[in-house]
Every structure is written in structure tokens, then in C-alpha cells.
Symmetry: C2
Subunit: 298 residues, 2 copies
Amino acid sequence: MRTDTVYKKAFNRAASMLRDGQLAGELPSENELRRRMCVSRTTVRKVLRELVHRDLITERDGLRATGRAVNDNDYYPDAETTPRAKHVEQQFMEWMLRGDTRPGTSINELELARQFGVATNGIREFLIRFSRFGLIEKRPNIGWLFKGFTEEFALELFEIRVMFELRSAHLFSQQPDHSPLWIKLAALKLAHTELLEQIETRFHDFSSLDNQFHRLINEASPNRFIDDFYDIISFIFHYHYQWNKKDEKQRNKAALLEHIGYIDALQSRNSARIAKACRTHLASAKATLMRSLIALEE
Amino acid sequence: MRTDTVYKKAFNRAASMLRDGQLAGELPSENELRRRMCVSRTTVRKVLRELVHRDLITERDGLRATGRAVNDNDYYPDAETTPRAKHVEQQFMEWMLRGDTRPGTSINELELARQFGVATNGIREFLIRFSRFGLIEKRPNIGWLFKGFTEEFALELFEIRVMFELRSAHLFSQQPDHSPLWIKLAALKLAHTELLEQIETRFHDFSSLDNQFHRLINEASPNRFIDDFYDIISFIFHYHYQWNKKDEKQRNKAALLEHIGYIDALQSRNSARIAKACRTHLASAKATLMRSLIALEE
DNA sequence: AGCATGAACTTTATCCATAAAAAACAACTT
DNA sequence: AAGTTGTTTTTTATGGATAAAGTTCATGCT
């Protein structure tokens, strides 16, 4: 059966809105709620029904108003708000990164399905999606081959990344003065310096900034293939960092400084300087990834 | 139920081998046949059983020998030798390229499933695989968006293609003299000149040569992401040419000449000359694609 | 021991079923 | 007419079943 994670997530969202007082007094219409929560009206109605049922809101003469205060245990647990497909992704990445999965291993859909507690269909869909990351390969009628999260992989990944980023950074710097992206860039620079000041406590926030920055650079001259490639990068780094916490603060601090240098270079519009800053930053990102891959191979 | 296309294809293959006399006299062991036909022994045995049943081979004391002559209607029809997934691909491409499918259309899994006569699962798997081509996009819980086989698509595609090909051609030219790829390149050049002489009748063969050539260039310094990207190119061109036959001979002749110039440039190892030949060729490939896209939009 | 066949077992490709979520339709209300 | 809510229809996400194809185990023959 399809999971009701959409509903549960929406319910939690609504509960938070009630708690924060965003929905104080008389509630907005179903359509308005639908827009705010980005789900269908069908789901909104389901949420409202449950809210009424739990007395979190009251309904009289077709008018809805806030009810009793929201309690911590009114919320559905987080695990129930993520769709199966996402769980499969997480479990697979865990299996791949933490397990002793060696390059050349073959991947068995049925086995993973049993291990993860889902139907084979879900596994297969995930693997098809995941195959674009270049880490697995399908052999028809036989199964999937795990090619390994190896040094070679990282080298190939970064070769492309450098090509793309140099191209995007160059085009970014050639934008007209009045492009709104310059403003965004300045804002991002500020966010960087702020984070740098509070690096001791907030170093986890770097990841989001990193993403925003690299995506911004691509925005100047969009290319869907470059965007898609950056999805791979994000994905890999997301899980990689989840797994490798070593020196995180130190690494993020260094990267922040590199970003700032890179932003300065962009603002200078000096091609050679931009290329240099870009290469420096990517080289250190690559070195970080490579170091942990070597750790993996032990 | 799973289709028995593997068996049917293997059967046809075996029938052809019998007909060509490749299996004259006493037949090889099941294992040997398995190796030659690239299927499992289970399938080989199924084929053998049917061959015996039809008297195409005889079996006595566990020894198998050729039987009656193979007839044209011993073969299974071609359509039955292609798996469902491939059919879906073909039908989808037909739907996309020939139908009046406009950019922005949303794709309905259920509708396509009904139209193509397959389960929704098959459609969905295809769409996931196909999504890497940048022509469709998934919106969770809602469906797929067809972004259109547009001019913009072609521009983005070729921007990447040029970057990758310049990089690969450059690295190719820097290989040591004794690299076996130089021999392959010379052989390919010969194949080009031969085809050029017989262009009037054999112009369809260009497609295969084109593929071999571009893949060869990538071989010098392999990168899985570049290979994957070239899969997109091949796929697009495969279907595109199937649909657009206009001026095919003329176009292929021109491309052959460009290839030859490009090969000469590579052999000269002169960077500037290589880049020029590469750009020239890709520019004309791009122009061809663009012309037919414009035709599509009418 | 090494290879051939036979039989049993496992995994993939494919279809079908169904609850959840989205969308479309209908009837009201202001 | 535009925005509400109630109802019905359609579509997606997910589980389950099964024949085909692949793999492994067992037996027998040189």
C-alpha cells in the first residue's frame, strides 16, 4: 500500500503552524491552506479532519478555529513522514558506504528488498535512478554491478566538475553589471563572513551555503546537464559528509575561506584570478574526498 | 509474465548457426553453446529441446547432430525477440517525436501504459531511465513533465558535447606513439574512405562509423561521465535519424568528409588544427539537429 | 579430477491490485 | 463571477505474484 507520508508530513506542518500562532483565530480556507502547505486539497481535508478529531481545531457552522494547544506527542514521528523511496535511498547509501561492500560486488535486488523491508520494485526503481551516478551498472537479466566508490570515481567526477565550474564561473563574471545575480552573490558573501565568525558552533551550516553558492554560479548561464551533474555532486557529498565527520569544522572553515576568495575573484571579473580561485577550491574539495576514500579502502 | 524474448532470440540465433553450417555434424556441449550465444545454460537447454522437437537437430544416446534444413518460417518474428522495456522505449520515442506532443505537456503513466499495452511499472522504469536525458522531469506525487525536444535542449546538449569532445580529442592526440589507439584510428580512417567511395548505396552505414569514431576518441582517457553523456547523444541521434530521413545521404557524405579531416588533424597532433576540425564537425552536427527541431515546431 | 547432463533453487522481468494523493466535477454561498 | 466545500474520478506509490532466465548443486561419465 502507498504510504501516507504526505499526509503525516502535512499534519506535522499544520501542527507547527498552529503552535507558532501562524493560524491564530479563524483558519484560512482549504484552498489557502493547500497553497501554503504545497499539497492537494484532498490531503488538506484529511489533515483538517484529524485536527478536528483531536480537538486541535474546532469546527462550528463550517467555521474552523484553533482548539486546544498543540502537544509534543501530537506529532507523527519523523520516520513516518518520509516516503519509502527515500528510505531505500538512505539504507542503500548506508549499505554502500558503511558496509564492507567491495568494488565488483554484484547487487541483488531481492536481497536488498528483504534487507530493507520493501518490494523489489522499489529497489529496482532506486537502482535505475542511482545508476546515473556512475557507481553501479546494470547487466540485463543478471543484476547490478557495484563498481565501487573508488579513487578513480573521484578523479573522474572532479575532472568534469572542474570543467563545468570553470565554464560557469567564467560566464558568471561576464554578466552585465545590472544582473540581479551580483546582488545575490554579495548577499551570499555576507552569509559566508557571518558564518565564519560563528564557525565554532555553526559549522554544520556550511553545507547549505556550499550548495547555494555553487548553484548560484550555474544560474548565470543555465544548462540542464550541468545542473544534473551538480545533483550528483550534492548527493555524493551529502552522504559522504554524513559518514565522514572527521575534521568537519576545520574543513568547513577552510572551505569558507576559499569561497570568500572565490567570490572576491568573481567580483573582480578578472578571468585568470577567477580560474585560479576556482581551481584552488575544487582541488581542496577533491583532496578531502580522496582522503576519505583511501580510508574506506582499508 | 516475463517475456521469453531471450529464449526466442537465442533460438533464432541457433537456427541461423545451423543454417550457416556453423554447427555442422555433431553439436558442441551445452556449455560451449552457452558461451557462444551469451545466455545461460537453462536457455540453451530450452532452445535445444525445441530444436529437437522440430527435428532441426536429432538426439540419440545423448549425442546431438543436425537434423532437417532450417526453413524461413522456423524463425520467431523479430517483434517477439525484443523485451518489453525496449518496446516501451521505441513507442515512447515515437510518441514524443511524431505525435504532437508539445513542451509543457504532462505525461501520464497510466495513459501511456494503456496506450502501449504494458503495466504502469514498465512505463515508470522507462521514464526514470529516460529522465537522465534532460527531456522530462519528475514532480513527485504528480507526474512527469515533458520539457520538449526544443532548440534550447539542442543548444545545451551541444555546449557540453563540444567541451567534452575538445577535451577528449586533445588528450587523444597526446598519447604516446605506440598506443594501439593510433592503429585503431588508422583503421577507422580507412573504413571512412571506403564508405565514401560507396556512399551512393551504403550511406546508412555511416551511423555505426560515427559512433565508433566518437567512442574511440573517448577511449584514450576514459571518464564514465563522458561515456554516459555520449550515450545520450547516441540515443538522441539514433531516434532522431530514424524520424528524419531528409537529405540523409547528403548529410552523411558531408559528415564523412568532416570526420576524415578530423582524423587527419588528430594524426597531425597539432592542437589548434584538432580543435578547429572538431568544432567544424560538431557545428555541422548541431546545425543538422537544429534544422529538424525547427521543422518539429511547425 | 574434470567436464557433461539433470534437477533444484534463486533472481529478474513483468503483470496486477489497491490505498493514498491529486485533479476534476458539482453544488452552494456570498 | 469568484471562492467555498462536498463528491467522484483519476493517477501515483507501493506491495505481491509468477513465468522466464540465471545460478548452484547433484550425479554420472570418462
